[in-house]
Amino acid sequence: MKTAQEIKPGQVIMIDGSPWKVQKNEFNRAGRSSAINKMKLKNILNGMQTETTFKCDDKLEYIVLEQKEVTYSYFADPMYVFVDSDYEQIEIEKDDLENVLMYIEDGMEDVCQAVFYNTKVISVDLPKTIVRQIAYTEPSVRGDTSGKVTKVARLNNGHELQVSSFCEIGDFIEIDTLTGEYKSRVKR
């Protein structure tokens, strides 16, 4: 059992005997010390989607699923195709990649984890830290090397995030895939 606030997107919880994949889990503070988790769920067996709320300390039954290392290969609308170490292709729908879709780009070499429920792939997790290249950002602010001042940068796949103001076009940056935040500039 895990509490509602411990459940992460991609994990599967059991409700009334059915497995539901958590697509989103938003934490909101209510009054006093109470908090609420709003979850977007997808039924793995029939594809039905729903939204639910839980008190943050409600206990939920979650199941540990089989995982396999995969790398991204290509997009064949509407499916994203990954391959495992045996070059076996694994297809997954856009909906099931909701939390990582912004980091998917052609040529990426990250070793990902495909998650299975009864042989069906239900999600793909990226490494906690990934490296991406900045496709566009405004010119750097002179003299500021503290990293505290930020600006918007666009990655090669169009995703935008806040980066330190000294980052430039062509720079490689580390991103935390759990928080979606820029971590640092790296040399390549």
Partner: protein, 403 residues
Amino acid sequence: MTARWTLFCAIIDNFGDIGVCWRLARQLKQEHALDLELWVDDWQALSVFLKAQLPELHDQDACLDRDTLLADGVLVRRWHNPWQGAAALDDHIANSDVIIEAFGCELPASVKLALGKVQKPVLWLNLEYLSAEHWIKECHGLSSPQPVSKQVKKHFFFPGFEQGTGGLLREADVLENHMQWQQQQAELRQQRLQTTGLGAKNQADHLLVSLFSYDTPALSGWLDALAEQTQPVICFVPEGKSLIAVSRHFARPELVAGDVVSVGALSVTVLPFRSQHDYDELLSLCDFNMVRGEDSFVRAQWAAQPFIWHIYPQDDGVHMLKLQAFEHLYLDGLDTDAAKAWRAFSNGWNQGEDCRELWHYLRPQLSGLQLHGRKWQKKLAVMPDLATDLVNFETLFKLSAHP
């Protein structure tokens, strides 16, 4: 057959929780004719509270000896902690048509077990705190699957200020009461001054304010500002937490009901713990109200007089986000100067700053804020009230359970 509702109320501090639950219970009983039981855990606090509401319950000790009370048609029952319910009592509660956990309190474990055995649809509601935040609308009414029984459906219910939320507590007669009080304002003000030992004062010349806030360092600067006004001010302070800071400001070890303290233009008069009806009237008669938490905050909006909300402070400062969310809705349509003055005072007060100068900035805006308050009241009154929304929610639940 009359629907049977059970409402659980855990009193955390002060009388805010029971204030809201009592209003809701009375309204569900009196306006919707429900068979209603209100379970309350702090019997001592309940007795003090009920004594103020219903003077006929004058013998507080007798109240404390009982485990059930019939008050204003509402059956109030003692929620022992730890729970001392027998199996039959657990089954009785579990077989309600609607069970409400007010402010996220937890049902006793044995009641949850009993819910697993029920053979009829039961609606289990988590009635949450009032907030103006956007996510409230997205979460209002959503299900919360619980591993008890397929017959029992739990949902979250959020009071709020906008369509798409559960609305606000508003009894059928509240707006009419305020209209009548404000029509007789001069006479009622004079009566109130007489009963508080200030009868010789001519109320027409005075600014009347009420103070019902949490303890805050911001209070001192505000009282100084009131004292240095040219217009005389009477500040009514009902017994409660506000008195701590007021006593400190006047260097008094303690202030009690009936005390009057005067300095400069300001006279502070301490009122005994009020009934909800009497407090509503006070809000209606005052030119400015300092309110707090949830219950008095909502009542001030029905009174439609200028007010400042002292929001319940949370450790991580998240209450300021909630305050800003309310400001965003409430100040919409107010002219820029008045909105700036209100926001500055509100933020200053809620962050414990010196509000002396901020009051002098806000004071000239009170007439504009009063007009705005009336528009805001009308806007809110268009929405269904919380009790009606709850009843409508149950109707839809029954239809879905028995299509």
